[in-house]
Amino acid sequence: MAHINLPEGLPGIRGPMAFRPETAKPLNQLAEVLLRSENSLTRGERELIATYVSSLNDCFFCQNAHGGIAQHYLQCDMSYIDAVKKDFQSTSISEKLKSLLAIAGSVQKGGKHVTPEQIAQAKFFGATDIEIHDTVLIAAAFCMFNRYVDGLGTWAPQDRNIYVARGPRRAEEGYINFDLYK
């Protein structure tokens, strides 16, 4: 049961968002501009950063909701997403994305864990300043979203295939114009 009296039947972040629509608005706008607006990082890459950070924070809802969307964009299967979460270095993602996930992993622990060597590595593989900024901000934002979801004790469906099935629709509708109740 959630820690506060949230509207019933809404999983994960949807409960708190329905509870307080005023704060939901900027939260969703942030997700939209970070994860979906025009960017030299693909939507799939950005969702993968969100998924990876959410898995490090052990947030079941966020890692599966965004894992399902990433899976749709990347046209891969669940085992590929799981391999990235477990050990991205051994997967076939680009060296640039690996260097950005390393930065995201450090941000998850704490901002001070990001090293000049990690930044140099990302720049060596072609990451731009904006991409580095966005990687740090996506990682930081999911440290917020994950804490919001788990800190209020929200519930989440346990069948991971539900999130995969919802991925295409979530990808299409985006983070601003969607119905919290559907």
């Binding site: 009296n5 307080r20 704490g110 901002g111 901000l137 990682a139 930081a140 788990d150």
Partner: protein, 186 residues
């Protein structure tokens, strides 16, 4: 040195928010709603939540900025100093102590918030909305602290800098505004 090219006149979070104003806008709006919007928690109480989370994350810039803002709103410095080190012995309400306990748990992980912590807060009169906002403020500063330190922005050491910033945050709030930081480096 910051990891990306930030305006040298805008240290800490200020230069980062100016670097990419489109991502900064919703963050500013959320902060303004939570820290300055209508609430049964005072502005000082909400700044105290921001301060303890930043202190827990060892983010010197955010801790100094929000401590100075809470000091300015309270008109004294003793409360912040005590709250940072052990809020149980600080001159804040019992309800506020239970909310600061929740905020400190969220700072470590959302999963660290226990049913007992929530029950304590409710027993001391905290509303669902106050608990919600406490969790979200703590989560938001978990974002800010990582953004500030993750990009290695400059942290001024001069206390007067934070007093100037606190005046801006008290007088103008958190939304974008014209010549917002004009008084920052004077």
């Amino acid at each position: 040195m910051p990891h990306i090219p930030l305006d040298a006149n805008l240290p800490g979070i200020t230069g980062i928010l100016n670097y990419r104003t489109d991502t900064a806008l919703p963050i500013r709006e959320l902060t303004h709603l939570l820290l300055r919007g209508e609430s049964t928690l005072t502005r000082a109480e909400r700044e105290l939540i921001a301060t303890v989370v930043s202190y827990g994350n060892e983010c010197k810039f955010c801790t100094a900025a929000h401590a100075a803002t809470a000091d300015l709103l309270l008109g004294e410095k003793e409360t912040v100093e005590k709250v940072k080190h052990n809020h149980e012995h600080a001159p804040v309400s019992t309800k506020m102590k239970t909310l600061l306990t929740i905020a400190r748990a969220v700072q470590v992980s959302g999963k660290n918030v226990t049913t007992e912590m929530i029950q304590h807060a409710k027993a001391e009169g905290a509303s669902d909305l106050e608990i919600h906002d406490t969790v979200l403020i703590a989560a938001l500063f978990s974002l800010y602290n990582r953004l500030v330190d993750g990009l290695a922005s400059i942290t001024p050491t001069e206390p007067a800098f934070y007093d100037r910033l606190a005046h801006i945050l008290v007088e103008k709030g958190y939304l974008p505004s014209e010549n917002r930081y004009a008084s920052l480096n004077s």
